[in-house]
Subunit: 122 residues, 2 copies
DNA sequence: GCATAATCTGCCCATATAGGCATATGATCG
DNA sequence: CGATCATATGCCTATATGGGCAGATTATGC
């Protein structure tokens, strides 16, 4: 099997830096394809393709405006990712080290529940 | 060009569901390869390969323990992702709709800065 | 309808993947 | 050292990618 399709979910879609760049630009409001392409210094077809992927996973929405197609942010799709990574927040938080130590101690000496430092008094 | 390597950064590394599964399991503590493989119902080589990717992007660390190799979480690498997605939090937050409307109004009628509702008092 | 602007899609290529499987490498113990 | 458990790697295949570029689409205005 090959790698999962970029369109399989938001995780795969935002793995591509250019697509993240697009999303960032769209935070300021709707943008036409050529406009985005210009800002990101990529070709129009390239931009269109990335936008297609983003659209397929629901991270952007399109709206016809005359000859142009305005793409807008549909950021809800990023929420699951934010939440998933959030599930690890404690691990990069300094205070967790202490909490971890506390839990470990608790597991070994339940009665030291209120002991913050040192001695095991049971 | 092909898709960016899975080892190019954490974004690409966690695009693979199995790798996310591995990280989740490691939240409970270090685990040996076969142990992980068993829990995730994947083959040992498969698991080893995913672990290699995770290790190359710094999301896990290894430690030899006898014949075994214990893999542990190194979640700091997820932080950038959490923060990046966090930059879009306002867009999936209900209250943002009102904030957005407020900003729009502000842009059109600067003097309504303190007006929360309706009338333009300048 | 025709010319033109703005996008999209198709095709080709080089590259990398994840899975399956066999085998190499490592470490422990007698 | 040899046997064995625990992992890591190598090789092969099917699949999908992103970039480049030309041509197809769609919409607008005359």
């Amino acid at each position: 099997m090959a790698r999962a399709a970029t369109t399989s979910d938001a995780f795969n879609a935002i793995a591509e830096p250019r697509r993240r760049d697009i999303l960032v630009l769209l935070r300021d409001g709707e943008r036409a394809v050529a406009d985005l392409a210009d800002d990101l210094e990529m070709t129009q077809p390239q931009t269109s393709k990335h936008l297609r992927v983003l659209r397929e996973v629901g991270l952007v929405r399109v709206r016809g405006a005359g000859k142009q197609r305005l793409y807008g942010l549909e950021a809800e799709g990023l929420r699951p990712i934010h939440e998933w990574t959030g599930g690890f927040e404690q691990f990069w938080n300094d205070s967790f080290d202490r909490l971890d130590a506390y839990v470990q101690r608790l597991a070994q000496h339940p009665s030291t529940r209120n002991t913050d430092e040192g001695d095991t008094d049971d």
